[in-house]
């Protein structure tokens, strides 16, 4: 195998696949990075068996040559050293060559590295996913769906299924739901061109976080295909394959109150700042509790109290209050996460009592729901 490649392209590709490579893995060869050279381009692969990422660098794209003098072949290199080497090479191009004894030479300008490679034949084959049952969507929309939900997944292994995001595609609607059982985030978007449907698939939150990091806004569409244990996200330069979580995602829709007793409308940023200030005195060991109380005259009061530190009170004018008076305590952290995830100027919050979940939505929009369970104080 041999090729000469633009160093910037190689760095970007290596960075992407490194997201999937872990130094602690059951299959030793997965600590390595696979390079495969074909006449049409170079494919880099990294995997930790939960997530696998392939990054493709075409030999020529938009009449710009990325890779030259390609002699086909493949090799696996130690991921511990290769990325740093590539990043620190002196010239704009890099020549990579491997011989029959799995010795790899990396040249750039006057620098030359000789590394021991591993046989690419031993690298596990990634499962091939049928791409017929797939649908496409804009990358920026997928990224925003991930950002609006994934923060709410559980980090506890108590209920492993809750460490993932539940993804549904039904009636031309794509829905993401995440909950750690203390709050729930959901987002729904219409999908027009889908020729497939699925409901109970759960993608690990970690996979979606990594995907969000490496998806390039510059590219336009992502194609998504699902089998019963894998999901593939595919763009022109990237294949991102993730394992799905086993098990049934709990039905959450019936747990979400559909009527409300108190409804407030408020400017997102103002509420966020007020809660953020009050949270300064809310201790993490105490669920970060802040209190919200309606005051009439379109005023609410946000307070927090830690006996050994002090207390804070802030009154806030809001757009409107409808319904019963209310006093409720909740985690400021969950509230801040939720308000940050809603990228709209104004929100409505529907309360149904101090012991029941409340729901935050953008004004006049039900496609985003952020639900939070209150804290019962004594």
């Amino acid at each position: 195998m041999k090729f000469i490649i633009q160093r910037d392209q190689l760095i970007a590709g290596v960075q992407d696949v490194m997201k999937a490579i872990s130094s602690r893995t059951v299959i030793p060869i997965l600590t390595g990075l696979k390079i495969e050279a074909k006449q049409h381009g170079i494919t880099l692969t990294g995997s930790d068996s939960d997530i696998s990422i392939e990054s493709y660098i075409p030999a020529e794209e938009n009449e710009i040559v990325n890779v030259e003098q390609i002699e086909e072949g493949s090799i696996v290199l130690q991921a511990k050293y290769f990325p740093d080497i590539v990043r620190k090479l002196p010239e704009k191009t890099v020549e990579i060559e491997s011989d029959d004894n799995l010795k790899v030479t990396i040249r750039s300008g006057k620098a030359e590295f000789n590394l021991n490679g591993q046989d690419a034949e031993e690298y596990p084959l990634l499962p091939k996913i049928q791409t017929e049952d797939s649908f496409e969507m804009p990358i920026d929309l997928l990224k925003s769906m991930i950002k609006q939900t994934v923060f709410a997944v559980s980090t506890m292994e108590t209920r492993p299924i809750l460490t993932g995001v539940n993804i549904k595609l039904e009636d031309n609607k794509l829905t993401f739901i995440a909950t750690d059982s203390h709050r729930l985030a959901s987002r729904e978007v219409p999908i027009s061109n889908a020729n497939t449907e699925f409901r109970n698939i759960v993608v690990p939150g970690k996979s979606l976080n990594e995907l969000n990091k490496i998806l390039d806004d510059a590219e336009e569409q992502v194609e998504i295909s699902v089998t019963n244990n894998q999901i593939l996200f595919r763009t022109r330069h990237l294949n991102f394959l993730s394992r799905l979580l086993d098990g049934n995602y709990p039905e959450t829709s019936r747990l979400i109150p559909d009527q409300s007793k108190t409804k407030i409308q408020v400017k997102t940023k103002e509420l966020l700042n007020t809660i953020d200030r009050a949270s300064l005195l809310a201790k993490e060991e105490r669920n970060n509790v802040v209190k919200l109380a309606t005051q009439g005259n379109n005023q609410i009061e946000i307070t927090s109290n830690s006996p050994e530190i002090g207390n804070v009170e802030e009154e806030m004018s809001i757009q409107s209050i409808d319904g019963e008076d209310l006093k409720i305590s909740f985690s400021s952290k969950y509230m801040i996460d939720a308000l940050k995830a809603i990228e709209y100027d104004e929100v409505t919050i529907d309360f149904t009592g101090a012991m029941r979940p409340f729901i935050i939505r953008p004004l006049n929009d039900t496609s985003i729901q952020q639900l939070i369970l209150p804290v019962r104080t004594y």
Binding site: M156, S181, H182, P250, L255, R286
Partner: protein, 417 residues
């Protein structure tokens, strides 16, 4: 919160019961008096190590932490008894009751020792006379000997009570330290363990006097902040107040136990972890507390000990959660070597009334259905101050929630009542 005045010249007592468990047993059964007596864990098992012994046994070379057969070899007529923690707790409670009649500034440190700040107590006579009366009273009423150290601060009082046993009363004055304290070997200083002593020896500190005179910078380099603290103590400086509330403050609640024999058997290990989780749950229930991080301790056959902990997203209090998380940590960090001792502790502990209960999406209906009840309680609480109701739980019987080990201080929570 009451705290004793830490500024002006103080008079601090450190009261230390002599061979406490053995003394209590002798008070129960006077026939044991004058005989070599040892209290040991489980006499049938290896964890049957000597917890304490009478002076008669000590004179034959019997020492705490020896195992039973070693001790029997040194002293064949040794009488070995299992510990009766209920008796010790009862005796301890009585002792602290006597102390708290003299001053409210009593700080229990463990089942058999505590500090008192008698600076502003109404005393007929000198502190020494007060100490003599106190010692006599505990001996007459409870038949338990103690030693008392008298000094201007806690550290010196502690060192003083250790100087004369049994039934000693020792005064340590700051101006006499060069004669009284400084000639002692540095490892005899309270707060200096074997490891620290070894380290101090490397910079030519062998006596407490050497430590008192050492360059603080060098000490700080060797021992960090503790170096400075130790030097101060060696010079008789210790500003810590006697804090009667110290026993109410808890940051962690834990339980640990030695295995009957070193083991690599996961079933045995998990059985112990379950048992420890139960202990921890019981103690958390006593304090009505929940915690937000968990730590395990593994001591291997070679005494090599590791602790590993994990911060949690939400509060835990149930034994199932404690066990599951402890087991998770164990599986992740166990080297596979034979295990001698295991411990679990829940940390970042708070009283439940301070934290509130984060409701759960899947179970909130249960709580919400009692909303009317709760809001009534809240109204009454606002009216009367503290919540006038206490939740009745079926496990709330006395035997169920009694502490099980010697060094737990839970039982002291209510010695004033």
């Amino acid at each position: 919160m009451i705290k004793a005045n830490a500024k002006k010249s103080r008079v601090i007592f450190h009261i230390d019961m002599n061979c406490f468990y053995a003394s209590v047993e002798m008070a129960y059964n006077p026939k044991l008096k004058g005989k070599p007596l040892a209290i040991a864990g489980n006499p049938e098992e290896r964890k049957g190590i000597i917890v304490t012994s009478s002076y008669e046994a000590r004179s034959k070379g019997v020492k705490t932490t020896m195992n039973i057969w070693q001790a029997k070899k040194l002293c064949p007529e040794l009488i070995v008894m299992r510990p009766n923690f209920d008796r010790y707790r009862e005796a301890s409670r009585e002792i602290f009751k006597i102390l708290s009649e003299i001053t409210p500034y009593v700080q229990p440190v463990s089942i058999d020792e505590g500090y008192m700040d008698v600076t502003s107590s109404n005393m007929d006579g000198t502190p020494i006379e007060l100490a003599i009366n106190l010692q006599q009273r505990i001996l007459n009423e409870l038949d338990i000997p103690c030693s008392i150290g008298i000094a201007p601060n806690k550290f010196l009082a502690k060192m003083a009570s250790d100087m004369k046993k049994p039934l000693g009363i020792t005064v340590l004055r700051k101006r006499e330290l060069s004669k009284t304290l400084w000639p002692l070997k540095v490892e005899e200083m309270y707060g200096v363990g074997e490891k620290t002593a070894e380290k101090l020896n490397t910079i030519d500190i062998y006596t407490i006097g050497d430590l008192a005179k050492k360059d603080p910078y060098q000490l700080k380099q060797l021992l960090g902040i503790n170096g400075e603290r130790l030097k101060n103590r060696a010079n008789g400086i210790d500003t810590r107040p006697v804090d009667p509330d110290a026993i109410y403050e808890f940051k962690s609640i834990g339980s640990s136990q030695t295995m009957p024999e070193d083991t690599t058997d996961l079933i045995v290990i998990q059985r112990l972890l379950k048992q420890l989780a139960e202990n921890v749950e019981r103690r958390m229930k006593r304090k009505d507390a929940a915690g937000k991080s968990i730590q395990i301790m593994i001591r291997y056959h070679d005494r090599n000990t590791i602790t590993r902990s994990k911060k949690l997203q939400s509060f835990i209090e149930e034994k199932e959660d404690i066990y599951r998380l402890a087991d998770e940590l164990f599986q992740k960090h166990w080297s596979g070597e034979p295990v001698r001792l295991l411990g679990i502790s829940v940390q970042d502990v708070e009283e439940k009334r301070n934290i509130g209960q984060q409701l759960d999406l899947f179970t909130y209906e249960k709580v919400a259905s009692k909303e009317n009840l709760y809001s009534t309680i809240e109204t009454l609480t606002e009216k009367y101050g503290k919540n006038p109701f206490k939740k009745w739980s079926p496990g709330d019987k006395k035997d169920d929630i009694q502490p099980r080990t010697s060094f737990q201080k839970d039982f002291l929570d209510d010695y004033k009542r």
